[in-house]
């Protein structure tokens, strides 16, 4: 039905249409860029996850650590590329074949189990620390503290810290956790900042740092994500209506009972969202762990050959983002490409999964908890 009030298509209408379309194009350029990146990565990366024969899934990619890849041709011009271990078995099995142009490429074969495990451990330990401190801090800030000037200033500074570049936190982590954190040891290192006797034992309490280690990396990440978690948790705690608390107090409950019974249960989904958000941010970070936790080559998985919890925590690990950074420096060779794209596709799926989860949780939260 035509609009009876509409005059003929004038300049204004045309201008409106034009602007409408240009704004729309702006929007879709962003979406198109995103689709370009995702499709490009997935199209080249996902094939790495599968293979032609049964069981169709490239189990090697998920159950092995990065290894040397051997690439060669036999006399018939058939090309082979497999990990060096398999190559050595292959020679024994095929003594009749000639090997031409053997090339060994570092870290391009095998799979991503080591980096995946490292990232997993870093994220888990980081989240344990960050959630423990962050949730308690946010409970304190929102429930026990008033709205004084100092408190609001503290809140604002925490909020501001959330935007500080990760490389600054990385530098801090390198300085504090890798070089300055306290350790109890029999033989203090020479570069320790401060050494003193440890209680009644013969050991020393030495401020010499934990070196490039899982613990240092996790702590750095925890510090980095702390402002995000505190802010998000506090927000969700504040979103619980005052009435809930007042009702609880009116029934004679103490403050802790009130928090435990009538605030926290309603804030839990928010806290959950905050923690997933935190994981998304932490898992994707490279700079902090590059400075504090990672190794480019490691022959064992994190849980192999460790003696006790301390040596477990102070080992350096491989991590997926750093592995990708290492791969970024590799040549533009077709033998490396499966590893490069496979790793980033796996990493993207992982991080995107968490991001999706946090978005879904948030949406559910918005729909469900309305008061």
């Amino acid at each position: 039905m035509s609009n009876p009030f509409q005059t003929k298509q004038g300049w204004n209408q045309r201008k409106e249409r034009l602007s409408f379309w240009s704004l729309r194009i702006c929007t879709y350029i962003i979406i198109a860029a995103a689709i370009f990146i995702f499709s490009n990565i997935f199209m080249k990366g996902v094939p790495t996850f599968f293979k032609a024969e049964a069981p169709y899934i490239n189990t090697e990619f998920f159950t092995e650590s990065p290894q040397i890849l051997s690439v060669w041709e036999d006399q018939d011009g058939q090309e082979y590329s497999m990990t060096k271990k398999n190559y050595e078995q292959w020679i024994v099995a095929h003594p009749e074949k000639e090997i031409i142009g053997l090339k060994n490429l570092t870290a391009s074969g095998g799979g991503i189990l080591g980096p995946l495990a490292g990232t997993f451990l870093l994220v888990v330990i980081c989240m344990i620390i960050a959630l423990f401190i962050g949730v308690s801090a946010s409970i304190y800030l929102s429930e026990y503290c008033g709205k004084g000037k100092i408190m609001s200033m503290i809140r604002l500074s925490i909020l501001n810290l959330a935007g500080v570049p990760s490389i600054v936190f990385a530098l801090f982590g390198l300085g504090v956790f890798c070089w300055l954190a306290p350790v109890i040891t029999d033989v203090p290192k020479d570069n320790a900042a401060f050494v003193c006797g440890w209680l009644w034992t013969d050991s020393y309490l030495s401020f010499q740092g934990w070196g490039t280690s899982l613990l240092a990396g996790s702590c750095t990440l925890a510090i980095m994500v702390l402002p995000v978690i505190i802010t998000a948790c506090e927000e969700s705690l504040r979103a619980v209506p005052k009435g809930f608390r007042e009702a609880s107090y009116a029934l004679g409950a103490t403050q802790w009972q009130t928090i435990r019974k009538s605030v926290l249960p309603f804030a839990i989904p928010g806290v959950l969202t905050a923690s997933v958000l935190g994981i998304t941010r932490v898992a994707g970070e490279t700079a902090p762990i590059m400075l504090t936790a990672t190794m480019s080559e490691k022959s064992t998985l994190p849980w192999e050959q460790v003696e006790g919890p301390w040596s477990f925590l102070t080992q350096s690990v491989q991590a997926l983002p750093f592995h990708i950074y290492t791969l970024a420096k590799f040549p533009d060779s077709e033998h490396v490409k499966p590893m490069q794209y496979g790793s980033i596709a796996a990493f993207l799926i992982l991080v995107m999964g968490f991001a999706l989860l946090s978005m879904m949780l948030r949406n559910r939260l918005r729909n469900k908890l309305k008061w």
Partner: protein, 286 residues
């Protein structure tokens, strides 16, 4: 029940504290040079672990500078370096009362590479110095097709960066137009994608599809020419004090065993015995 949990936690904590002092795993950490650590040492490691599966060897290769800062801090057992230790660094070790022991890993030649399409085939040392210090800016000045030169170098923590400035640039500063890249491979990639690019890499990286090496002062980087090639250098492993135990075994194997030398040669470095024989021969003939 609660008390029990508490007790468990407390015991674990104490146990972990006790373990802090005693935990000494059979683990060797190798840190430093990208020239050594990106290709050679990982492959040596893979070979060595076949015979010694119980050992753990970790490698971090981000530049020779790492080798010394980690050795002095005690966070590495072996340092890989593509240059000799600097006086400044040696002072550092001395002021901590530590001896630094040098082991020659292999010989290397720094190859100057240009794009495949670049017609320039040879450069004199002086021209190379001019290009890298920034006083020569156009290919036509060194006999090529006119076009501004893009210079790619390693980053400052690299030993190759240092030894190149010593060997080719009489220790002058690099010009400010150099792009500093992390690792040999990125230099190869950039040079192969830029017709006017020039860079330097270890010999192991000198063979590639879209780039080629140039002759320096008329000598091409070939193993047989090691005594004549002006940009030849040694690569080193460093340890604090004389190596002991597993570290010593590993080092001896890496530097002297035949299997290791084979790998060294295959990757494109010159194994120490081969290089020394070549040098001796040349010294005798002159």
């Amino acid at each position: 029940m609660k008390l029990k949990t508490f007790k468990t936690v407390a015991t674990t904590l104490t146990a972990s504290l006790v373990l802090i002092g005693s935990a000494v795993a059979e683990k060797i950490e190798i840190k430093g040079s990208d020239t050594l650590g990106a290709k050679l040492v990982p492959q040596l490691k893979a070979e060595y672990l076949k015979a010694n599966p119980s050992l753990t060897i970790d490698i971090l290769a981000q530049g020779s500078g790492h080798a010394f800062s980690n050795l002095v801090a005690g966070t590495a057992n072996i340092g890989m370096s593509s240059r000799m230790v600097k006086d400044k660094e040696l002072d550092n070790f001395a002021s901590k009362g530590k001896d630094l022991i040098e082991h020659v890993a292999a010989y290397d030649m720094i190859a100057v590479i240009v794009n495949e399409k670049n017609p320039v085939k040879k450069l004199s040392l002086k021209q190379i110095e001019g290009i890298f210090t920034g006083s020569i800016t156009d290919w036509s000045e060194v006999g090529g097709k006119a076009g501004a030169i893009s210079v790619y170098t390693r980053n400052t923590s690299s030993g190759t960066y240092k030894s190149f400035s010593g060997l080719a640039m009489s220790k002058k500063d690099y010009g400010d137009k150099c792009q500093k890249l992390e690792g040999n491979q990125p230099i190869c990639t950039e040079v192969s994608k830029n017709e006017n690019g020039i860079g330097y890499v270890g010999l192991a990286y000198a063979k590639g599809d879209d780039y080629k090496t140039v002759k320096v002062d008329g000598v091409s980087p070939k193993i047989s020419k090691i005594s004549k090639y002006p940009l030849a250098r040694k690569l080193y492993y460093y340890t604090v004090g004389e190596p002991k135990g597993e570290v010593a075994k590993l080092l001896t194997w890496m530097t002297t065993s035949e299997a290791a030398n084979k790998i060294v040669a295959k990757i494109g470095f010159v194994p120490t015995p081969v290089a020394e024989a070549a040098m001796k021969k040349d010294a005798a003939s002159e």
